[in-house]
């Protein structure tokens, strides 16, 4: 069942304006929180809701909030991570473009809960037009007394600003994001100290994904317990899924967690199946960094049970036969797609995006890209496949930040499940050149 909570009213004309948004129940959560709840009450509701970070890691948001240090006389900051850059993920963009006020509303309530009086939305530089949309919406919120001094007479002050990035995936890592906000290179920091203790300008800081912050709005409106009723088990609430690849109807969908993967791919409410009447070959369910699954493990687990759109079900089987929900970047491959080519583009992406600070990531991502480039172009050897797996193991877990793992996992998984295809590139160098992998346009976009 499709259930719109975050994207509620996204089809209402003018919903991007304050007036229309307000008319459709917007900013109720701010009124409720500031007038009837203490900041601690808000934190408790978020804890009760079971909301898990929507940026990819899935860490419980309420728990993250509870770690925030509160030393006397030191400002605290809430940063919204709108640096959406994980290949396959474009959900935050949709939400900000369509309903910017939902994010702003979430920022106000969350800042109130955390005791932050200045908050920032750090948005990837390529989304510059969304920055304009957000700033316009923020100006409206100021004009209507929802931002600034003494909001709704509650005594709570909040300044909300937007800061652009400049083209760097790594700035989605929270400490790199903080560095970038401080006007520096996006080099992730060594942890500990964690941002909750020492973040922006050395002050306690919480960094949350756009979708997580937007989810605070329904949690406050309806209560954490009500929110926790949506979804399945520890995967509470709804999730925005960015569907891309060879689908009849790619796009952003808000789903109630717990629907089957089968329904999501083939259901009429969702992606409506594989484009051009082709067959499903593989799927990456949570953004480029999570393991790829071959067709037989996409809709069913290795045990033969239905695979569900939840954190737990997608991870069932571990890395041997499972994957992760990650950021919800759902990438689908039809039968004609080349796994080697796709893996190469991902390796190229991570090599391009490595900050270069620590040696395993700096050297390892570049090395993997070069080896995969050769393999894809028919110049690889069988040893190269083992070498890739080896390089992988030496990056994984050995880097400062998770980018190393993010670069290693997709390569490892592709070899795990599609080794024959890598070998085929070695044994059929000429054919692998001729095969028109990746060049098949779905009919919907074909000239």
């Amino acid at each position: 069942m499709s259930r719109k909570i975050l994207l509620e009213h996204d089809d209402v004309p003018g919903i991007e304006t304050f007036d229309v948004y307000r008319k459709h129940g917007g900013y109720r959560s701010v009124e409720k929180a500031l007038k009837t709840m203490s900041p601690q009450n808000v934190v408790e509701e978020v804890q009760k809701s079971g909301l898990r970070g929507r940026g990819g890691a899935g860490f419980p948001t309420g728990m993250k909030w509870s770690f925030l240090a509160k030393p006397e006389g030191v400002p605290r900051y809430l940063l919204c991570n709108a640096d959406e850059s994980e290949p396959g993920t474009f959900k935050d963009r949709y939400l900000m473009e369509k309903i910017p006020h939902r994010l702003i509303e979430g920022m106000i309530v969350s800042s109130y809960a955390l005791g932050a009086n200045t908050s920032y939305i750090y948005i990837r530089g390529e989304y510059m037009w969304i920055l304009d949309i957000l700033e316009k919406a923020i100006a409206e919120a100021y004009a209507n007394g929802f931002l600034g001094k003494n909001i709704l007479g509650s005594g709570f002050d909040l300044d909300l600003r937007v800061a652009p990035g400049g083209g760097a995936y790594i700035c989605g890592e929270e400490t790199a994001l903080i560095e970038s906000l401080e006007g520096k290179r996006g080099n992730p920091r060594l942890k500990p100290p964690f941002p909750a203790v020492k973040g922006l300008w050395g002050c306690p800081t919480v960094v949350n994904n756009v979708e997580s912050i937007a989810a605070v709005v329904p949690i406050v409106n309806d209560g954490g317990d009500e929110y926790a009723k949506i979804g399945l088990g520890k995967s509470t609430g709804t999730k925005l899924i960015s569907a891309s690849g060879n689908l009849v109807r790619p796009g952003v969908y808000e789903i109630e967690m717990g629907i089957t993967v089968e329904e999501f791919i083939y259901g009429d409410q969702y992606c409506r199946g594989i484009a051009n009447n082709k067959k499903l070959k593989a799927c990456i369910p949570g953004g480029s960094s999570v393991p790829i699954l071959p067709a037989h493990l996409v809709t069913k687990t290795a045990e033969g049970t239905d695979r569900l759109m939840t954190y737990e079900s997608l991870a069932e089987g571990g890395f041997a036969s499972g994957s992760m929900l990650g950021s919800g970047g759902f990438i689908v491959f039809d039968e004609d797609q080349c796994i080697v080519r796709n893996t190469w583009t991902f390796a190229r992406f991570y090599a391009h995006e490595s900050c270069g600070q620590c040696s395993p990531c700096r050297e390892g991502t570049g090395w993997m890209e070069k080896v995969l480039n050769r393999l894809e172009h028919g110049q690889g050897t069988l040893e190269d496949i083992d070498l890739l797996a080896e390089i992988n193991k030496k990056i994984e877990g050995n880097t400062i930040c998770p980018l190393g793992d993010a670069a290693a996992w997709p390569v490892a998984a592709a070899i795990r499940h599609f080794r024959e295809e890598f070998e085929w590139h070695v044994t059929h160098p000429e054919e692998s050149q001729k095969r028109n992998y990746g060049l098949v346009l779905p009919k919907s976009t074909l000239v």
């Binding site: 400049g166 891309s244 796709n342 583009t345 976009t445």
Partner: protein
């Protein structure tokens, strides 16, 4: 990597823009003014011809009262900043996995053929610079390219023809609403 340093006559922000810059700096706490750097660099690029010369970066360093190297470090880290002159319009074509799956390779080939210039190059008339880009967050709407603040999505050969013709006539092509 080779560093090609191209110089440009020093330019300065207009009084109006400078006020905007100063207001931005004033938003940050005392001593944290460097935080305004990225946004000022975007502004400088917009105002001074779409790229950042050494002179521009030195100027920004002066405004923020930081060492010039701190600006170079940042400007070279983030891929959006152009460190050499570009064509009037820069087409950045996404080629990462999800776009590749729906044919970005075709789009790249077609653009190169149509504009008679390879990726990384600028057309002889200085109108267009072609570049490849890594994931721009339009995965469900690929193939796509970015030109300034505009995302052009669901690209086909016909659509590319339209977009190019439109830019040539000085009109930023409108994107079809999703």
């Amino acid at each position: 990597m080779s560093l090609k340093i191209i110089h440009q006559e020093r330019q300065e922000f207009s009084a109006e823009r400078m006020a905007e810059v100063q207001a931005l700096i004033a938003q940050y706490p005392e001593g944290k003014h460097k935080s305004a750097l990225m946004r000022i660099l975007h502004m400088a690029e917009e105002d001074f011809g779409g790229w950042l010369s050494v002179e521009t970066m030195n100027y920004v360093a002066e405004i923020l009262n930081i060492q010039a190297i701190e600006v170079y470090e940042v400007a070279t880290f983030y891929t959006m900043f152009n460190l050499e002159p570009t064509g009037k319009y820069v087409f950045e074509v996404c080629r990462t996995g999800p776009c590749m799956l729906v044919g970005s390779d075709n789009i790249i080939a077609y653009l190169e053929e149509k504009l008679e210039v390879k990726m990384g190059g600028t057309t002889a008339d200085g109108m267009f610079t072609l570049k490849t880009a890594e994931c721009l967050g339009a995965c469900g709407y690929g193939p796509m390219l970015q030109c300034g603040k505009q995302y052009h999505e669901h690209l086909t050969k016909d659509r590319i023809d339209e977009i190019i013709a439109s830019y040539r006539s000085g009109v930023v092509p409108k994107e079809i609403a999703r």
